[in-house]
Subunit: 171 residues, 2 copies
Amino acid sequence: MKTIAIDMDGVMADVYAQLFKNHHADFGTSLTLEEVTGKEESIAFPNCRKHVFSEGFFRHAPVIADSQEVVKKLNNRYQVYIVSAAMEFPQSLVEKQAWLNEHFPFIQWQQMVFCGSKKIIKCDIMIDDHFRNLDDCDGRTFLYSQPHNKLADCGRHHRVESWKEIEKLLL
Amino acid sequence: MKTIAIDMDGVMADVYAQLFKNHHADFGTSLTLEEVTGKEESIAFPNCRKHVFSEGFFRHAPVIADSQEVVKKLNNRYQVYIVSAAMEFPQSLVEKQAWLNEHFPFIQWQQMVFCGSKKIIKCDIMIDDHFRNLDDCDGRTFLYSQPHNKLADCGRHHRVESWKEIEKLLL
């Protein structure tokens, strides 16, 4: 059975929705998708660092469309691991586990991995929105489209725009 | 640079010291090393499950002799990751990170991995006290001696009795 490592933030959890909402709360103005496209989140959203270290930021992130349905199907066909680079944000560890338990109850604790670097991850397939994670993977790599990576040439990685596209490719 | 995955409980953190202490607190009697040797911790210590799910159990575990000194030296020569199967114990995530920050301040968050299964870990060398973790590693594997594994044939794994022994073998 092939192993898939699936990223959380920007793949399962809609971090941009949280950043847009917090930006509006902080400044009273809304950023447009165009304004944040092609920029790292920390550049696009001036208060990004403050928010990602705040209680509740990860716990209350919305679920990305169709991820629940497709991850559930993948879970029947592949050895699925949810691999999140959570270590930078100590408060996120408990929040991320609670978030997974709530929104993806079919994912067991044995399938969860919280790390700093993903260089240590061994898998056949990786789905992630960051090049720094995909570049070290020897397997098949899918770049999940997000504004920060939207304008980049995805190189050897296969860009996917939605979970419906992943469903077609892997199921 | 070769990658080493080092387990926490039973390798860096003295879980047995905690279990012996808690057993005495619960029952007023002390178990001997002989009584617990060759038995899984959950069999040897009747209240084991209660304690490993209790607040503070991991946070206050003593450090295993010489681990700080030797891990520090390894950290200069290898790509070190601390890999702990922490996911079973949700309350342990924050405790384990705080424990590492206190006792191993030279270990960066990028080097920490909390997982459920270690099947997803890619490394050249693994140091662990459990066969279930070592058996899936393709690299060089060291079984850290602990009472629960003491009587078992270590098979293809190399049994080590102390951090001083690891130092001689890897440095």
